[in-house]
Amino acid sequence: MSYLNNLRLVFSGRFQSDVSTVNNDVTHFDSANFQAKFQEYGMPGGWWNPCGSGAFRLLDCVVNEVGYSDGSTISDAQADPVIGMLIGGSNQSVSGKMVDLDPQMQMVSEIWGLEMRLCNDLEDGLFSGKFLPAPFRDILFGRQQQGGGGDQTATAIYQSVLEDLSWIDSSSSTFLQQLKAASPDKLSVRMMLYSYNMDHTNPEFTLGYVSGVIGPAAASEPNTFILGRRFAPANGRKTAENINFFNAQLNVYENAGIPRGDLCVDLSNALSLANGQGDFVNIGQVQVVALNGEFSEGSEGLTESDYTAIGEPIPYLDTQWLQSSGAIFNVSALSGPELQSAQTRQLALLQLEKKKVLITETQNGYLVRADQVVHRLNPADTTKVDFYAAAYGVPLSGSDITVSLQAVAQGTSGGDAAPTINHPASAIHYPTTITTGTDGKATLSLTAENPENPRGYIDGQVFLLSYSPVGQPKYIQHMFDFVASLVFDNFAVPANPSWEDIQAIMTQYGNLYPVMSRMLVDLGNYESVVEYRSILELAFSRPLSDPNYMPVTRDLSAGKRAAILQWLRAKGDNGQYLLARSGSSAGASAIEPCASCEISSTPPMESAAALADRAENQPDAMRGSKLYASQQYQKNLKN
């Protein structure tokens, strides 16, 4: 099951991620030293999109192919009306949001409040569901050969499930009937994002491309990764051919008493991209094989007895292969020795001209990963993390996994003036070893305590928990496969909060989000906040999952939120809102918009090459990018 099986829908199109960047530098949280230029484009300043709204949108995402449970696929609307329809966001609510956990951990950005629905100009939604918030995984920088600077050449995967499904009408589509029968309550979804544009002078600014797949989801499976076969570059980064981590799944079943297997390999985030159109770099003929011995990545000159070929060579050079197939390679109805090899031996990609092993599955087909990897915790909160262990895709019982807190460092935003993360260790409690049960699953219980404001001007603390399988020293993990938690400081809610109790909180948000404070409501100004009392009460009182939730960044502790709401809601005996304050101010002044709220009128069309060149020569030009954050994280680890 999961999207990585025969029964699936493939879509392709654009996405917009209008993230804001003032909050990408932890020192910008220091309100005492905040400067106006931090809300403008540039460095030093608010970096590449200071006036971003946080919106995440799916645009023009067209269904190009569906696969049926028998392994056949079609791409003709005459054969199934789902072909040519769109996968879109909600048409009744605001856009979803893309949200970092913290300036010091920007590598687990989640999508919140996204609804996905299958629709067209006639149908409102043949199905719709809510995307369970999940972070991107398996990011690889420089995966794309041509393109601009920053994150334009990076790609990553969002995998999650659609919940609260509604099925409006499946009668006209064989595919939808099969999908609904297989998975009526939730669906598995993968979105591979690529070629994201970060140049605000370009019309494509904040837009990127998405290759999506939707399929069934089983209750026994993790929601956010494939419990199957994991391919890993030997150095933990990428192979010589720029191949990234990727996943495959072998679904085994019986047909007339004979064991059969369908192998599905997800290459969307794996092979190197030539350009922003999703074309793959030609690295010769590539085939999935099961290795008949120990061969490491890069081994050349294998003989036919060294491996068992699984299916035909991968058609990755076909025109628009990514768009039309989602770059999922399928071999259906494996049987006999072929199936046996695929079930019990290490899989690999083989380059046929040189008989070269491009990349292999993890040693012994081992896999251990955590499902819920991003947490926001208030003191005394307890949460759960499900870990899964498997070998060659089969759940492993009795497997030990160790969990440990990373060393004190500065995470993804550092510098001389920046605080450090991962302390005090006493503020996060967890067992250091967990053991999987018969289902291959182990649940870690995580409890938070008041970290007592170790970072000063920014609330709470970030804790990164690494994990690894015991007895598997060669197991290779992606460097961002950890469990990240933001633990908030305790905040005692005053009995009758006044403006002075919440002003500092509101001012900090006002500084960090010019899209609000410079275009709508000056959050640091009493009169301005009073004018917008109703909408602020609404936004601060929505559930975390709601796309209207404020703050968009979801980094407000329960205590501070309660104080703000209490202040906004308190009424006097006369039924009027109190909106209490002890002092007085000079009154509201008009909000001056910042230049970053305006769109440059005559975009100089900088070429991708020029932009890349600029990025190379000015290392700071792409501050605020995931690339920069990732570099900071690695640099800070070593310090």
């Binding site: 048409n91 009744q92 609510s93 605001v94 019309p203 709508l520 609404l538 008009a590 918009p593 769109i599």
Partner: protein, 348 residues
């Protein structure tokens, strides 16, 4: 005074069954909504930090038009009908006539244009003109022929018909009524469940729009829409004035309209006016989608899910922030990009 064909009012009078009244209330909903894009375009054309009084005045009218639309929906729901808001022809094509061809008597063209004294006079004040405007001093618009009835007469005919049909006509499910004191005061929006609450509600629409025969104030002591717009047109507050025969004159505090601080929005823009792939097109498509999502949401709000109004408020602010950025885009010939207010089904 904007008028509509007398046949419309005559046919309301000849209604014999409440179901025949539904289409006229649907027309009322469409009419109240149709003014909102017109006024919003003016509001969004004002540069931030400038023209703040004019901005407040227009905003106050927009909010009351939203109220009027809600009232008309409540009445239709109370009478067992179902408002239809989520369809392309719910939105007029601008420039063009208002729903029911209201204003054809004087060739009114509802248009989406930036704020100017000319637009205020020719469109805003024309839309809101009372049956007999009190002249403080305001010239009366041309007299019209007897083939036409006023909006006041349109609502009066509905009110009379509701009284005639009486309490049995109120078969609607009370849970479909929108009452939400967070956004609308209880003195302005209430549950419509019987003849009395329906007539009071419809009267409020007419009074807030037109004022009363004796005073420019509505029953809540706020200036009727026509006089609020006239304040911007004349550049001065309408204030009590004992030296004036009518007791009021445009002699109060100045309300300057600095037209240099108005974005010169492309009039009556359509998304298709902007080249595919341009920034203006992206913002036009997005603002259309957000606006359409708002209409879809309001459709749900008025079809059994009144709590959805909260989400609608979120969409209004998302639309506002999108458009505030959009109007800064120079699309050539010194024009700025403008939101098209087109109903679309998908986000492209």
């Amino acid at each position: 005074m904007l008028k509509l064909k007398k046949e419309v009012v005559d046919s309301i009078k000849s209604v014999t069954d409440v179901s025949q009244l539904h289409s006229y209330l649907q027309n009322a909903i469409e009419l109240e909504h149709a003014t909102i894009p017109v006024y919003l375009t003016g509001l969004f054309s004002i540069k931030q930090t400038s023209n703040s009084e004019a901005s407040k005045i227009i905003r106050s009218v927009v909010i009351e038009e939203m109220l009027h639309m809600s009232i008309a929906c409540n009445v239709l729901n109370a009478l067992g009908g179902s408002p239809a808001i989520n369809k392309p022809d719910f939105v007029p094509s601008y420039p063009g006539p208002l729903p029911m061809n209201v204003g054809e008597d004087r060739q009114l063209v509802a248009s989406l244009e930036p704020l100017s004294k000319q637009q205020i006079k020719n469109v805003y004040m024309a839309i809101e003109e009372p049956e007999n405007p009190l002249e403080f001093p305001v010239e009366n618009f041309a007299a019209v022929s007897e083939q036409y009835s006023t909006i006041g007469e349109f609502y009066a005919a509905i009110i009379e018909k509701i009284k005639e049909l009486g309490e049995p006509a109120f078969t609607g499910d009370p849970s479909r009524q929108l009452v939400n004191s967070q956004w609308f005061a209880e003195t302005e929006l209430w549950a419509v469940t019987d003849v009395n609450t329906a007539c009071k509600a419809l009267n409020l629409i007419v009074e807030q729009g037109e004022g009363t025969q004796q005073s420019p104030l509505d029953p809540e002591k706020k200036l009727a829409h026509y006089y609020r717009f006239a304040e911007v047109f004349y550049g001065k507050r309408l204030v009590p004035d004992t030296s004036s025969a009518l007791g009021w004159s445009y002699n109060g505090e100045a309300i300057p309209l600095d037209e240099s601080q108005i974005y010169k929005l492309q009039p009556n823009a359509k998304a298709e006016d902007y080249p595919a792939g341009s920034v203006a097109r992206r913002f036009a498509d997005q603002s259309n989608y957000t606006y359409s999502s708002l209409l879809n949401n309001l459709h749900q709000t008025f079809n059994g899910h009144p709590d959805k109004l909260n989400e609608a408020m979120g969409l209004m602010y998302e639309l506002r922030l999108t458009v505030q950025k959009m109007v800064t885009i120079d699309v050539g010939d010194s024009y700025c990009a403008a939101p098209p207010f087109q109903y679309v089904k998908t986000n492209t």
